[in-house]
């Protein structure tokens, strides 16, 4: 079996994001970038399944500008065997990403496709489901537990009501929740070794996919700021304020 894992480069989750003064987006210059956190869980899970002997190869793929390769290198450093970078500049919407990934799936023919459930930059939560639709594959979204069976996966999904378990036939798409596992860190020797692993670069133009944005970003602004609150000195004062000032209890 082979697993394809899609990873995205985003602003690091610890960075306090700032909106650009001209309203065209957020500041990305000189800002720390990392792999989208749940994509790390997707890689970790694929590598774990490989280590269990059920999978032969893990291929990491990313779609984005040149620097997006960093996320593939990181995946290679924690155990992926090979990387693919589809080079695209500018804004690319989940629909276009899923069409690009469809082309990669056609070529690579993986048995399973993993990715994070949502990217923490645009917060769209679309790509996995869209790819599943285009391929007419089953989708197991928001996975917090994956059990690999002979021809299927049993996946526990995190849903609003609690947990849901479904069984999906292989080939299938799984989008991963942060609770799926604890991603490992790359050791220095493995980072060095990863530099020698194959990383294929594909130009998006060669895939013949329409990547033109359909959604126009008119303006990006700061959310309304909360007015500064006060510190209270005691629990009694707090309860009194909630009762008589805020009138919420």
């Amino acid at each position: 079996m082979k697993i394809l894992v899609a990873v995205k480069r985003v602003i690091d989750y610890n960075v306090q994001v700032r909106v650009k003064d001209d309203g065209t987006g957020v500041v990305t210059e000189n800002v720390k970038m990392s792999t989208n956190p749940p994509d790390d869980n997707a890689i970790e899970e694929a590598v774990k399944i490989k280590e269990s002997g059920k999978v032969k190869e893990v291929v990491a793929v990313t779609v984005g500008e040149d620097k997006a390769q960093e996320t593939v290198r990181k995946a290679l450093a924690v155990g992926a065997d090979r990387g693919i970078h589809v080079k695209v500049d500018g804004i690319i919407e989940p629909l276009a990403v899923s069409k690009i990934l469809q082309k990669i799936v056609d070529k690579e023919k993986p048995d399973l496709i993993f990715m994070g459930k949502q990217a923490i930059d645009d917060d769209c939560n679309q790509t996995g489901q869209m790819l599943a639709a285009l391929l007419n594959y089953p989708q197991a979204t928001f996975a917090s537990k994956i059990e690999v069976k002979e021809k299927s996966l049993e996946v526990t999904r995190e849903v609003d009501e609690g947990l849901e378990t479904i069984e999906v036939n292989i080939p299938a798409i799984v989008t991963c929740d942060l609770r799926l596992n604890e991603p490992r860190y790359a050791s220095l020797p493995n980072i060095m070794k990863a530099k020698k692993k194959p990383l294929e670069q594909i130009n998006v133009a060669d895939l013949e996919v329409d990547t033109k944005p359909r959604i126009e970003q008119i303006k990006v602004e700061e959310p309304p700021k909360r007015k500064a609150g006060i510190k209270v000195g005691s629990v009694a004062e707090l309860v009194q304020k909630l009762k008589n000032e805020a009138k919420v209890i």
Binding site: Y13, N14, Q16, V17, V26, P94, L95, A96, S98, I120, D121, D122, D123, C124, Q126, G128, Q129, M130, L131, A132, A133, L134, P138, Q139, A140, T141, E158, V159, D160, E161, G162, L163, E164, T165, I166, E167, V168, D177, R179, P213, R214, I215, I218, K219, V220, E221, E222, P223, R226, G229, I230, K231, V232, S234, V235, V239, L242, K243, A246, V248
Partner: protein, 317 residues
Amino acid sequence: MSVLLIAEHNNKEVKPFTFNAITAASQIDQNVDVLVIGKDVDAVSKSISVVPSVKKVIQVDNEIYENFLAENYTPVIIKQSENYSHLVCSANTFGKNLMPRVAALLDISQVSDIIKVISQDTFLRPIYAGNAFATVRSNDKKKCITIRPTSFDPAPTTGGSAEIVKVEGAEDFKITKFIKREEVKSDRPELGTARVVISGGRGMGSGDNFKLISAIADKLNAAIGASRAAVDAGYITNDHQVGQTGKVVVPDLYIAVGISGAIQHLAGMKESKIIVAINKDGEAPIFSVADYGLEADLFEALPQFLEEINKLNTIQK
């Protein structure tokens, strides 16, 4: 122009956020039809048909829809989508799972999680965990939209009389099988719609210590929330998680206990009307969004808080 809203329900009752989604849909266009897909859902259709802003309820009843699998829902929605300019549902786990599958097959670039309808093609949506708001215009002819339910009021649920039309379903996808659902039953209000939410973080120290929170929740008729750290530590189940990857809540009162206030947590609660933070670290970022901050050891403060509210003559429910 007309909107097709996909209802969320449990085959017996409409999920409350469907009514918030109806409000959002009717802000896009006055012609709102609701699609109810499920098994033995007559009662669900009926309760939606009395919502005044709903023009028509389309019911698709078949046992293959019993567990709301997106793979089975999708062809039905696509078949029904022809006459509509907008397809809408809630951006909770139901809608997040479903809508992109529909959008991709219709070759539509979905607009996720909108918090405001600006016009029929332009919407406001939070990005970067709510640290920025983007105004976006969809240039697709037909639009697929998910709405953040807590940003819209629920539609009134009486007085209407929409017709209910029953239509046939589509084929069973078969290769996705539902196995089980583990719902956590609770007598408390739902986290997403509760008037008061009290949440615990890693500072709670153990799952057992959450009883300090539940005692107060009982008194205030509050829902219990948690930070991701508390869920990851195993103190409480995932359905309590508030934040970027959990639930977004907008209660009148949000009490954060032992929660430091990571960006990802703030994303799920900072629109609350009144925020209280109880934390022993005076520098914790949670205080920057709190209307009332109390710098204190929660193990002393929570029992005192319970004692103080017990002294009150009346407590709002």
